[in-house]
């Protein structure tokens, strides 16, 4: 079996989609926030908290729907917190986001220990095992499509939220470019003074984008703890909230571009998982996605710079 036949299997492409989905949620959140002129670096922590509360409530209520809803509500509450500190108390938004990330990494461990009564004895604190297949976000087999060879195996059989992630790319685009509120969001992001001079409430729009971001991050968190893994564990989001910021920059701040950037990341991670399956040290392949992110940002910056140079040259020659 050749290298390509080994790597590029149906399962491999299936896993790319699976891995990309949570990054899409986070990236869309980052894009909406950025369009509204808010740099939300607290997505990482927001997803951690949503993942935790989503999985816990799913377990206690016995229903995945409750879990997903609670994850979304958690995302909204956390984002409202960021908004309150950033806009009402004027904390630097990057610091507000950092505080949320602190709570997301250490505070969640505190909460898990308190809520579930687990102690230091259980070395790796997690809610793994609480989410059974019954509580997992359901998988959907798309009729007709699933019977098509190859394509069916790649595209069918994903979770409800996976499909939602891809649908949301287009919904986000439509929200930003086809609705009045999208126009307001973009105007606030581009020139808050101009927007406020025509009667747009800048602070309301900024609250709105953070709330939408919170909903999306909440979905991402739910995906992580209720489908991607069977429960919450320490640092499970593993930088996806940060990678989303990179994907936003790589994708030029547009939903479709963000989707492509997220797919590149998903590809890199799927490849690294594959590599560790062949016995290559996982510590050597795990950093690949992060490295790809840096390279992607650099390439994007160089391309953007070349683009910016071009019209200038034309003027000179004319």
């Amino acid at each position: 079996m050749g290298f390509f036949e080994f790597v590029f299997t149906v399962e491999f492409f299936f896993s790319i989609i699976r891995i990309t989905a949570p990054i899409i949620f986070a990236t869309l959140a980052a894009i909406i926030c950025q369009k509204g002129g808010v740099s939300n670096i607290g997505l990482e922590g927001t997803m951690m908290m949503s993942a935790l509360f989503g999985s816990l409530f799913a377990y206690y209520s016995g229903s995945w729907i409750v879990g997903v809803l609670v994850a979304i509500i958690t995302g909204i509450i956390v984002s409202l917190g960021i908004a309150f500190f950033a806009f009402n108390l004027r904390t630097n938004i990057i610091l507000a986001g950092t505080a949320v990330n602190m709570i997301g990494s250490g505070g969640t461990i505190f909460l898990v220990k308190v809520i579930t009564g687990m102690t230091e004895g259980n070395q790796l604190t997690s809610t793994n095992g609480l989410i059974s297949t019954r509580l997992q976000i359901p998988v959907i087999n798309i009729p007709i499509l699933k019977d098509i060879p190859l394509i069916g195996g790649v595209l069918s059989g994903h979770s409800l939220l996976t499909y939602l992630a891809f649908v949301l790319v287009f919904l986000t685009w439509a929200l930003l470019y086809k609705t009045p509120i999208g126009l307001n969001i973009r105007s606030v992001g581009e020139n808050p003074n101009a927007a406020s001079s025509v009667g747009v409430s800048v602070i309301k729009i900024k609250y709105t984008v953070l709330i939408i971001g919170g909903i999306l991050a909440g979905l991402g968190g739910a995906f992580m703890s209720m489908y991607y893994s069977m429960g919450w564990s320490q640092d499970m989001v593993a930088g996806r909230g940060f990678i989303a910021l990179a994907a936003t920059a790589m994708g030029g701040g547009e939903p479709l571009g963000g989707l492509l950037a997220a797919l590149i990341f998903g590809f890199a991670q799927a490849l690294s998982i594959k590599a560790s399956a062949v016995g290559i040290d996982s510590n050597l392949v795990s950093p690949i996605p992060y490295l790809v992110t840096i390279i992607g940002l650099v390439v994007f910056a160089i391309v953007a710079r070349e683009k910016a140079k071009k019209p200038h040259k034309v003027k000179e020659s004319a």
Partner: protein
């Protein structure tokens, strides 16, 4: 507003932020403490609070807890340096969050030098520390150069670098540098003469590192407030456009600030290794970088206040550890307390009404004084 009022305000603000954080902590402790009745929960809360707030310095019988105090001092060393690193980078408005990976990188490089280079005493620890510091300087200059030359967000890149550093170090540790005679994953022991001398015995691990760290604080404070470099770095942080038009080489100082930050973060790892460890065994990011961000915020980005802020954070850390020993409350409470203090401290509008009152009071007094002068002049 005169100096005295400004001081009154910043002290009030500090106390208020800490008070709110402790209030939040008390609520969380109350909720999480074990007990079937409100009374039982309440007494458990008191035990936990006592352990957290007073425990680090005073034993249950009221005597001074020397060991606890020395441990706090030892704990200050790494967070003082990551705090300084963050201070310098934030002063230039560079949100480089790489001191987390930086301190791990510095620690690892220092460890390798301390294990493998055949150098005489005194020289070896110096070379190890400087090696770790300079290596980390180069590491954190990567996002700096990308920012200065290409305008790529230093924040995202530095965060990515944290993860990359962690995995690569783990890879090297597992494959090349592991001491296979030991039961756990760690390097060979450092050469005996690489270790920093301990200031006091009794296993508190308080080393010469503390003195070095304090000297570094003094140097950084001087550089930031008494030299052209420091002035230009702070100027860029205040207003980058203004700096550019007044002829400051902005890209150079953006890189310098982050290089300096990297150097300091790396040194934190170096001092930590040679002061408190005998072999390198960190397998995940140590968290000192994030505490360093809190320290920098508490110190108002002023290097001179970093030791005080670091002492406070080290005290809280030790307090939370004591609390989890004496009660059922998990030690990770510190992350929530830290975040709350952090949020209120960095909030410009927190107690803005009170500041406004003070400003008006000062203005009224000034006006009154001016009036009196006028009246006297009219005689």
């Amino acid at each position: 507003m005169n100096k005295k009022r400004a001081l009154t305000f910043s002290i009030t603000r500090t106390v208020a932020a800490i008070f709110i954080a402790i209030l939040v902590a008390t609520l969380l402790i109350f909720v999480s403490s074990k007990g079937n009745t409100v009374g039982a929960k309440f007494s458990e809360t008191l035990v936990a609070l006592r352990a957290m707030l007073i425990g680090p310095l005073f034993r249950n019988n009221g005597s001074f807890n020397t060991k606890g105090f020395l441990e706090i001092l030892a704990l200050m060393v790494p967070i003082m340096l990551t705090g300084l690193a963050t201070t310098v980078m934030f002063s230039a408005n560079q949100f480089n969050l790489g001191s987390e990976g930086g301190i791990m990188f510095g620690a690892f490089i220092t460890a390798l030098i301390a294990i493998y280079t055949p150098l005489p005493p005194v020289i070896l620890p110096i070379v190890s520390i400087l090696g770790g510091s300079f290596a980390t300087m180069l590491l954190l200059m990567v996002p700096a150069v990308l920012k200065a030359k290409l305008g790529v967000s230093e924040m995202v890149n530095s965060l990515m670098i944290n993860y990359i550093v962690m995995y690569i170090i783990n890879f090297l540790l597992n494959t090349r540098f592991m001491d296979r005679t030991k039961g756990q994953v760690q390097t060979l022991n450092f050469q005996e003469h690489a270790l920093l001398p301990q200031l006091v015995g009794r296993g508190t691990k308080l080393s010469l590192g503390l003195v070095i760290a304090l000297v570094v604080v003094a140097i950084v404070a001087t550089v930031m407030y008494r030299t052209r470099w420091g002035y230009n770095i702070r100027m860029i942080g205040q207003n980058e456009d203004f700096s550019k038009y007044s002829g400051i080489n902005v890209p150079f100082y953006i890189i310098l600030a982050q290089g300096l930050g990297g150097f300091l973060a790396g040194m934190g790892g170096s001092l930590e290794m040679l002061g408190r460890y005998t072999a390198y065994d960190w397998k995940s990011l140590p968290g000192y970088g994030w505490t360093g961000v809190t320290v920098a915020i508490l110190a108002g980005n002023n290097p001179a206040y970093v030791p005080l802020a670091a002492f406070f954070m080290a005290y809280l850390d030790k307090g939370c550890e004591m609390m989890s020993t004496y009660s059922s409350v998990p030690a990770q409470l510190i992350d929530i307390i830290q975040a709350v203090i952090f949020l209120f401290f960095a909030a410009d509008n927190f107690l803005a009404g009170y500041r406004q009152k003070l400003v008006i009071k000062s203005a009224e007094e000034d006006a009154k004084a001016a009036n009196e002068v006028q009246v006297e002049g009219g005689k």
